[in-house]
């Protein structure tokens, strides 16, 4: 490619110079040639003028024709000349034996014109030849003399040497042009090369840390994986991510974050072999490719990296401690292509991060993208379409009245082969694959249908449906809820949506908009798993939320864990101060329930009250339980189609 450009440049330079030279040479040759022809014509004209004068003076007063004839004959036959003697009658004779070169065609020469004119000279063309002529009267004689002279057609002899000079100069010019082209081309290509190299470097390296980027890592990994046939291809790939980097960026500013990333890059680079590759994949994610290393050495490296990064960083005079999570994949065991290896190392890294264990070697069982999960994703789509899912309902009891006011709808999947699949497993799958939209719609539809049936039976309950973070990014959701409420003839107040704290944090503006839209319709929202996220209270207080649900992790052991008890109590106060209803999840014994009641908690939900129940069992439970409905007892029920 590079050489190609060079050769092309040189060739075009030389071609242009040769082209210019040919034009220039041709034009200058023509000019010289024509000017020399003209000069010759002028010379010839002067010559025959002289000749005419000489001849006419020679024949002056000589009346006889013969002497003239013989005299002309003695002049010799100039191959280029024709001499005519013209009498006063206009008749003429060719005065010398006809030269061959005029051919038989000489009679077609414009003789009549020539013999009629007096003391004139001129020129004419005949059969491709140029002629000059002159006529002169002979004193004291009835004759006049006409000399016709053919001009030289070929290049005069001196032109040969002109041509030689031109050729030599031309050759030297081409030669010099070639050299100039070579040198110019060398400079141009050198400069282009530099720029190219810079561009390639830029395209394959991360701007901030100057480490190879994802593309280059892919290339290197591919190269290693293709490998030499003679060698066994093996090695380890580490993908790492700084824990809580986002917070550093948010609190100290991007500048500090960038400085930190640079230092991290330098530290990792400082501890690898020449054959290894450190790359920045983007954000705070780095990768290290360790060709030739097995599991043990790979882990050792990971440990060392963690160790190196554990030492505090000095960012603009501030001491920063960071932790790293590393995911490890080994090839060829965990994948034979770059894409799979990086993706799986990513999975392992998230696992390490969740477990807080520093590093983690990829395991198919821990991979949400493993085959079983992929198969489940396909089946989940089918399950939604074919109504294989069911809803269970867990009662929410009002602690002041002791009556059940509502239920939380929880989706269940009874897989024909795998049996019961917990929502923890398939809901994240649905979220990742986009199936969450049809899934949520299915749940909303089923819950509202059930609510409709209960209403017909006189059971008045608020049914709560969980929304995922992804649902909060769909602006159409509120319209779909309105349609479903209308379709099942259920009042908006009998539906509630539950949103987790973390889901709200993902897209502040979008979530708030959707919750406001839903609120306008008349559907209340509940904040699920409260206390587990990092949400800002200021932000939460602005959200149109009617209820706060304290996460079960605080409630379950609050009788034995004072800290959690304090959290629960404060949350109840906080909720009340913000004018929100507070519900405690995970109530598993009477003692907890009593304490919650004494602290003023509004509602409770948990196994002590009831586990999630199928729709028909819930009706049974409502009839028999001490936490029954406040309104009139349910009528004898017909079999619900959903149960």
């Amino acid at each position: 490619m590079r050489m190609n450009l060079k050769t092309r440049l040189v060739l075009s330079f030389v071609a242009v110079s040769i082209f210019v030279l040919i034009i220039f040479g041709y034009v200058s040759y023509r000019i010289t040639f024509e000017s020399s022809i003209e000069r010759e014509a002028a010379l010839t004209r002067a010559f025959i003028r002289q000749e005419a004068v000489l001849l006419s003076s020679l024949f002056a007063d000589d009346t006889a024709l013969d002497p003239v004839h013989s005299a002309i004959a003695t002049l010799g036959a100039d191959r280029q000349q024709l001499i005519l003697l013209v009498d006063d009658q206009g008749g003429y004779t060719v005065s010398i034996p006809l030269p061959d070169y005029f051919g038989a065609g000489y009679r077609q020469l414009p003789m009549t014109t020539l013999v009629q004119v007096d003391d004139k000279e001129g020129e004419f063309s005949f059969e491709g030849d140029e002629f000059v002529w002159i006529s002169a009267t002979i004193e004291g004689s009835p004759y006049k003399l006409v000399i016709v002279h053919r001009l030289q057609k070929e290049a005069p002899a001196f032109m040969e040497s002109q041509l030689g000079r031109l050729l030599i100069t031309g050759a030297i010019v081409v030669w010099i042009a070639t050299w100039a082209a070579l040198i110019l081309t060398a400079f141009i290509t050198k400069r282009l090369d530099r720029q190219n190299r810079a561009l390639v470097h830029q395209a394959l390296h991360d701007e901030l840390t100057d480490l190879p980027n994802r593309t280059l890592l892919f290339d290197s990994l591919d190269q290693v994986l293709r490998g030499d046939d003679s060698e066994e291809i093996r090695g380890a790939l580490l993908v790492m991510d700084l824990d809580h980097f986002k917070e550093i960026n948010d609190t100290l500013g991007h500048n500090s974050g960038d400085l930190l990333l640079r230092q991290v890059g330098t530290r990792i680079r400082g501890m690898i072999r020449k054959t290894d590759t450190v790359a920045r994949l983007g954000g705070d994610e780095f990768a290290v490719l360790l060709p030739g290393l097995g599991a043990e050495l790979g882990i050792e490296r990971a440990r060392k990296i963690i160790e190196v990064l554990e030492k505090p960083f000095d960012i603009e005079g501030m001491r920063l401690d960071i932790e790293t999570s590393i995911g490890i994949t080994l090839f060829p065991d965990h994948g034979k292509d770059a894409d799979t290896l990086i993706r799986r190392a990513d999975v392992a890294m998230y696992h390490a991060k969740n477990k807080g264990c520093g590093y983690f070697i990829y395991e198919a069982e821990a991979d949400p993208y493993s085959m079983r999960r992929l198969a489940l994703t396909g089946e989940l789509r089918y399950a939604i379409e074919q109504n294989e899912l069911t809803l269970h309902y867990q009662p929410k009891v009002d602690l002041r009245t002791g009556l059940t006011t509502g239920v939380e709808a929880l989706v269940r999947w009874n897989h024909p082969q795998h049996g019961f699949i917990p929502p923890d497993e398939f809901v994240p799958l649905a979220e990742r694959t986009g199936l969450i939209r049809p899934l949520t719609l299915w749940v909303l539809n089923a819950a509202l249908r059930q609510n409709h049936i209960w209403r017909m039976m006189g059971i008045d309950l608020i049914v709560a449906v969980n929304l995922s973070a992804r649902n909060l990014q769909e602006s159409k959701l509120s319209d779909q809820i309105i349609d479903l409420l209308e379709a099942w003839d259920v009042p908006a107040a009998a539906l509630m949506v539950e949103v987790t704290e973390s889901a709200l944090m993902e897209d502040h503006a979008g979530a708030r908009q959707i919750l406001t839209d839903i609120k306008c319709v008349g559907v209340d929202a509940s904040l699920d798993d409260f206390g587990t996220g990092y949400s800002s209270l200021a932000y939460l207080s602005q959200l149109p939320i009617a209820e706060i649900k304290i996460d079960r992790s605080f409630v379950m052991d609050m009788t034995s864990n004072e800290q959690n008890a304090a959290i629960v109590r404060s949350t109840i106060d906080l909720g009340h101060n913000l004018k929100r209803i507070v519900t405690a999840e995970g109530v598993e014994d009477r003692k907890t329930l009593d304490i919650l009641k004494s602290w003023g908690c509004d509602k409770a939900q948990g196994y002590f009250l009831s586990r999630p129940l199928p729709a028909n069992e819930l009706v049974e439970w409502l009839r028999g339980s001490e936490w029954s409905l406040g309104n009139k007892p349910p009528q004898l029920l017909l079999d619900s189609p959903l149960t």
């Binding site: 000079r165 030599i168 030297i172 040198i183 081309t185 060398a186």
Partner: protein
């Protein structure tokens, strides 16, 4: 010259050939050109080519970063 060589065998032969022709028409049979200065220029040009050709090393190639040697 050794490692500095940058002319291939063909390159050398061509240069020496062209050089000898130029020396001939420049210094020996000057009638071909018929101009003293041009003849001298051609002769000098030819001499340079013969010298460079026999040496196997061309400084201008070096400047331009070209070598025909390896492709020999």
């Amino acid at each position: 010259m050794g490692s500095r060589r940058n002319l291939s065998r063909l390159d050398q032969v061509l240069r020496i050939g062209v050089g000898l022709v130029l020396i001939h028409i420049g210094f020996i049979d000057t009638s071909l050109i018929g101009d003293t200065y041009l003849a001298i220029a051609a002769g000098v040009f030819g001499s340079i080519n013969v010298v460079v050709g026999t040496g196997g090393y061309c400084p201008l190639y070096r400047v331009a970063g070209i070598s025909t040697y390896s492709s020999d």
